[in-house]
């Protein structure tokens, strides 16, 4: 597809989104972009800006207060709508950026939104001797530019830190899109456009019918049991199309700024995203997790492996965590996805790790009380039925459509069990220890729980408190494996590769996994229906047909049409007759900006 044709398609979808969103009354700073695009009266614009920036520090003489979710959209509004924003609204934003008490936050998306907003305000009022933090516009512009450019280089060398998050990826893309359109510095704009290509490539490589397959650095509570998860659905629709317009999923306040932006990704990525002609493997390397205490070693890079098959996607991760108590709270290590109903098309499992150490490994509160502190705000992080969040006792390996997931949980652990989610819409078959199902959408799946399991229901209604507006958080089966040495073997197959579901069940049940070495020798092996042998040692080598997987050799990306070696900042994407070449011009002699954010 020609770029011009693709860009027109994106513009059409953007118009669709903006028209839909602008019918809403009110809204906030992010939504205001839709209203400004469709001619809202000045009086209402001022009202929205005033209300959105009405928080003040307490006491007499309070000053405007806000954080990254205010700072970025302020910068975006003044950059995108300089001639449309009423003077009064501009004045409110100016007061906020010059006199506010602003927060930077502590995650990567927080800092990006904060620094982008700060940079755009500094460029809008370049002569300001003193902005909100007592520094000049020039000092603020320089600091923001250093961090943004530094993190772009770091991302191009190490892989994205807050990687592949169905919710937070949007908060990376959207500020960068605003910079791509409006940053004054041509070098910054160039680097931003390049890193946007990486971000879109990340989306495209694991895009699966409105889902983001495989592992994620952060995903919302219960959302890893949803096929359409997080705000990313709106960006996926905007840039990949692929589905009928469904406002519930395809319109999100955070994605209004890009719907009114000029930026358009390279068309190639949209084609890659929807090309499901043949099964293929996607490998990615991502930056190590920020774990800054209560561990003996640094975290290692994250290695992702996702098998994109026409009728399902199975992805897993080598997390590189340094052991207890490192267990990032939002992390999703693996899942299986197919094209089913939104909340009935995922399988996942986890160990709901809890520990006094857990939060203090990457948060600064006193270890003696941080557990209660965080637990008060997010009680679900302590719930025994949790299905998300990393465990230091989880290990896994994958080859194509087969994954082995093993756990060795210490006897004194507070959660001596494993949780597994199964959709309830499948007519499950149990035979010889295997649980098998026909997804009804062209894929068969077989699971072999390692350890005794109990079959129960899991149902829960949600609220915004869980960062998920969907009232039906989860509705399915919960298989709990109350075994310290539990695990799971899962194999997914294209239905078209089997004679029938009955034949699939018979073939799979006829071959028992080799558990003779588990847990005594830390070894589990299984033969796949394609005749491959997976052999996994819990803390040791992972073999496929006797050959060890070399995770350290993972490139930056590996996928059809992608050439992206690790650490170079150079990569090429090709599809059909199109090609995108990126070169971040990394100077290997210079140190990268240090990582100072969590996520």
């Amino acid at each position: 597809m020609h770029q011009e044709t693709y860009s027109q398609q994106v513009s059409a979808r953007a118009d669709q989104v903006v028209r839909h969103w602008s019918k809403r009354d009110g809204g906030g700073l992010w939504d205001l972009n839709a209203h400004l695009a469709t001619g809202m009266e000045d009086e209402k614009v001022v009202e929205i800006v005033r209300k959105s920036l009405s928080d003040q520090t307490d006491g007499w003489g309070g000053r405007p207060a806000g954080g990254p979710f205010h700072v970025y959209p302020c910068g975006a509004l003044i950059a995108r709508w300089p001639d449309r924003l009423p003077e009064e609204a501009l004045g409110i934003i100016r007061d906020f950026m010059m006199d506010g008490v602003l927060e930077r936050g502590n995650t990567e998306n927080h800092w990006l939104m904060f620094y982008v907003g700060n940079l755009l305000a500094a460029e809008r009022w370049p002569d300001a001797k003193r902005m909100w933090n007592g520094l000049s516009a020039e000092a603020n512009r320089a600091e923001a530019t250093r961090w943004i450019l530094g993190m772009i280089e770091r991302t191009a060398v190490n892989g994205h830190h807050e990687y592949d998050s169905p919710q937070y990826h949007v908060e990376h893309m959207v500020p960068m899109i605003t910079l791509a359109d409006h940053a004054a510095d041509p070098h910054l704009r160039h680097q931003v456009e390049q890193v946007l290509s990486l971000y879109v490539a990340d989306m495209a490589l694991e895009y699966y019918y409105g889902s983001w397959a495989g592992g994620h650095s952060r995903e919302g509570y219960r959302e890893n049991t949803w096929r359409k998860s997080g705000a990313i659905s709106a960006l996926q629709y905007l840039y990949f199309g692929d589905e009928e317009f469904e406002p519930k999923h395809h319109v999100h306040g955070f994605c209004i700024p890009p719907a009114t932006a000029a930026y358009r990704p390279p068309a190639l990525f949209a084609e890659m995203a929807v090309d499901r002609a043949r099964a293929h493997v996607v490998k990615k390397t991502k930056a190590p997790r920020t774990i800054y205490r209560r561990v003996e070693h640094e975290a290692r890079p994250v290695r992702k492996y996702t098998y994109m098959s026409p009728s399902f996607a199975l992805g897993s991760s080598q997390l590189g965590l340094p052991g207890p108590g490192a267990g990032p709270i939002d992390l999703i290590s693996w899942d299986l996805t197919w094209r089913g109903e939104n909340q009935q098309a995922k399988i996942c499992c986890n160990h709901p790790y809890r520990s006094p150490e857990r939060f203090s490994a990457f948060l600064v509160g006193y270890p003696q009380q941080i557990r209660r502190q965080i637990g008060s705000d997010k009680p679900y992080l302590q719930w025994p039925d949790r299905l998300f969040g990393a465990s230091p006792y989880e290990r896994m390996m994958q080859h194509e459509g087969t994954v082995i997931v093993l756990y060795k949980i210490p006897p004194d652990d507070e959660a001596p069990f494993i949780n597994m989610f199964l959709p309830r819409t499948i007519a499950w078959v149990e035979r010889d220890g295997w649980i098998m199902g026909d997804t009804g959408t062209g894929a068969y799946v077989a699971l072999y729980p390692i350890g005794p399991y109990g079959w129960s229901e899991i149902r829960e209604e949600g609220s915004m408190r869980h960062l998920a507006a969907n009232p039906d958080q989860i509705d399915g089966w919960l298989l709990r494996i109350p075994d310290l040495h539990g695990g799971l073997i899962l194999e997914a197959r294209e239905a078209g590769d089997e004679e029938s579901f009955e034949s699939f069940c018979a073939r799979r049940a006829a071959s028992e996994p080799d558990l003779s070495g588990w847990p005594g020798s830390d070894r589990v092996a299984v033969d796949t229906l394609d005749g491959n042998r997976l052999e996994m040692y819990y803390d040791g080598v992972h073999n496929v047909d006797g050959e060890a997987i070399d995770y350290d050799a993972y490139p930056f990306y590996e996928a059809p049409g992608v050439d992206a070696p690790m650490g170079t900042g150079k990569m090429t994407f090709s599809h059909g007759d199109q090609e995108v070449r990126l070169d971040f011009e990394i100077d290997a002699s210079k140190p990268l900006i240090p990582i100072r954010v969590i996520g």
């Binding site: 003489g61 003193r130 600091e143 774990i291 800054y292 640094e298 270890p367 100072r596």
Partner: protein, 318 residues
């Protein structure tokens, strides 16, 4: 201008005030304050949760936002709060951090400008001003182990200003030559959250090994702990006694290894003694707020209005 006879409290913002009087926030900031420096012409505050390091110029700014006694502090009302700013500018903390400095856990005053060594989960750092008037920071702990980087306390050697004792999640380390070289000490493998120099010795408070003392900062001997034990967050002098802020409240020791817990049981993150009255102490709990005693810890009185207090500095004069 912050009166010299006022206490400073690091809570949700920095407050000044007197026992029995009102407490007034300095400026409008409401960051969670972890650490404070008080000098004649400025205050420096370290903030956690990403909010960095801030400086308040003492004498040119206007304080006065929230009165913790419940009485709004109006301009000119309290004698010091709300004084007109000589420069005509609104009150303002000035940012000292940059894009590499965040999550401040400890700070100490050193020579030079900006004259601060700052400790964070990523280690210690020192700064210099650039041409744009912003401070750029250099980090000195990168080669250390993970837990040894995470800095909880900093103590500048009283006789050797470029030698710093650093309390980390992995023990006490000594940074020589302003952080250019490092030495490990005999306290290793435990978190150290308190460091002090008292009675001519160095003192350290740990998470799980009680209180320690040292002649040289390198070789440490156990100095006991109260029967309740728990982590030690601050150590300070009260006359001849040593007072410890601990996980279970305040503990008093005589320097011989005998410690007695006193007062309310809370995670006491900070405790300081009034310079003119060895019987008057202020203690900060997280959570639990602000408490004071005027009889050496026998009776404690809660100060309303604070939820979490992590730093206290005593008045400069009585």
């Amino acid at each position: 201008m912050i009166p010299q006879n006022h206490w400073l409290i690091g809570s949700k913002g920095v407050y000044h005030g007197t026992i029995g009087g009102s407490w007034t926030r300095i400026g409008a900031q409401e960051y969670g304050i972890s650490s404070l420096i008080r000098e004649p012409d400025r205050l420096v505050a370290g903030a956690s949760w990403g909010s960095g390091l801030w400086e308040w110029s003492n004498g040119t700014g206007q304080s006065g936002q929230t009165d913790r006694s419940g009485q709004p502090d109006q301009p000119g009302q309290s004698g010091q709060s709300g004084q007109p700013d000589q420069s005509g500018q609104p009150d303002r903390w000035k940012q000292l951090h940059d894009e590499t400095l965040t999550e401040i856990m400890a700070i100490a005053s050193i020579d030079g400008s900006p004259g601060v060594v700052a400790g964070s989960p990523y280690g210690i750092a020192t700064g210099r001003y650039d041409d744009a008037g912003a401070v750029r920071w250099t980090h000195h702990s990168d080669a250390l182990r993970v837990n040894e980087r995470f800095t909880n306390a900093i103590l500048v050697h009283p006789d050797e200003p470029s030698t710093w004792l650093i309390g980390t999640e992995g023990g006490v380390l000594i940074a020589d030559d302003s952080g250019a070289t490092w030495r490990r000490t005999s306290i290793s493998g435990t978190a150290v959250r308190a460091l002090a120099c008292m009675h001519g010795q160095f003192w350290a408070g740990t998470d799980d090994r009680g209180i320690w003392r040292s002649e040289d900062g390198e070789r440490w001997d156990s100095a006991g702990h109260s029967a309740d034990g728990g982590a030690v967050f601050e150590l300070t002098l009260a006359g001849d006694d040593i007072v410890a802020a601990t996980e279970h409240g305040v503990a008093i020791g005589d320097g011989s290894g005998h410690w007695v817990r006193t007062g309310p049981r809370h995670l006491c993150a900070a405790v300081r003694c009034h310079p003119g009255s060895t019987s008057t102490w202020l203690a900060g709990a997280t959570p639990g707020g602000l408490w004071y005693t005027e009889d050496r810890g026998r009776t404690w009185q809660h100060v309303p209005g604070f939820a979490n207090v992590r730093a206290i500095l005593p008045p400069e004069t009585d």
